[in-house]
Symmetry: C2
Subunit: 121 residues, 2 copies
Amino acid sequence: MQNLEEGERVPIPLYQAKAEFLRTLGHPARIRILELLSERDHAVHELLDRIAIEPSNLSQQLAVLRRTALVVSRRHDGEVVYSLSVPEVRDFLVTARQIITNLAAVQGDLEPELTPAKSAR
Amino acid sequence: MQNLEEGERVPIPLYQAKAEFLRTLGHPARIRILELLSERDHAVHELLDRIAIEPSNLSQQLAVLRRTALVVSRRHDGEVVYSLSVPEVRDFLVTARQIITNLAAVQGDLEPELTPAKSAR
DNA sequence: GTAGTATATGAAGAGTTCTTCACATGCAAA
DNA sequence: TTTGCATGTGAAGAACTCTTCATATACTAC
């Protein structure tokens, strides 16, 4: 985990790196991909079978994930097989699910309480 | 984004709700806000002191977080105080940090092989 | 070589999100 | 009431992201 000192790599503030990472995950197709890859490695055409999306769109989304280094690809028997490069992503998505569940609960609970009286008395 | 009207609650696929949630978090200012709120509750002007951002922009970002029910606000002594409504967000951000660290490592490892010494991203 | 399957890329338009600005509101002190 | 500080909102353009389409590349079989 050393910093490369060659050249000048401006250290991106951590919260900005986080934002970039979360934004990368913030897309239904990409999340589906990562979930499928959490189960096991998949070839592109396998992903295609399980996600309702055009081939070239899938490719684009895979490219995004590759750029962020969240996945890696290798060629095997004329197919390209993708896998997660950071296995923690799996737990991460599980945590996300938890929060969303809580969020749904909170959203329901809060609704009646805070409605401001914008009454025009 | 989707507005839920009273009565008609369309069940959103989970991976789409996740995407929405992650996209909400995918913004530097909003992450900063959530991190600060993880430490303790903050009044708006306190946040303003610690984040380099225009007041009205901060307000906008707070509005986004309120809409998603990630934060709640209350008025106290002429100030508006914000707090996290889902405490798990804190652990979530910690996990995110871990992944990003690993990611940086992976990116570092891959670099010599795949890039023509020009990666500015 | 050609053909065929699998995957990737670039570019364009549609759509969405961000930031800024001007103004609006809430509340309290004078 | 008027003033003043704290916060919020709507609107507009810039900037970015998504999807689609056409085409390109990689590899294998013939």
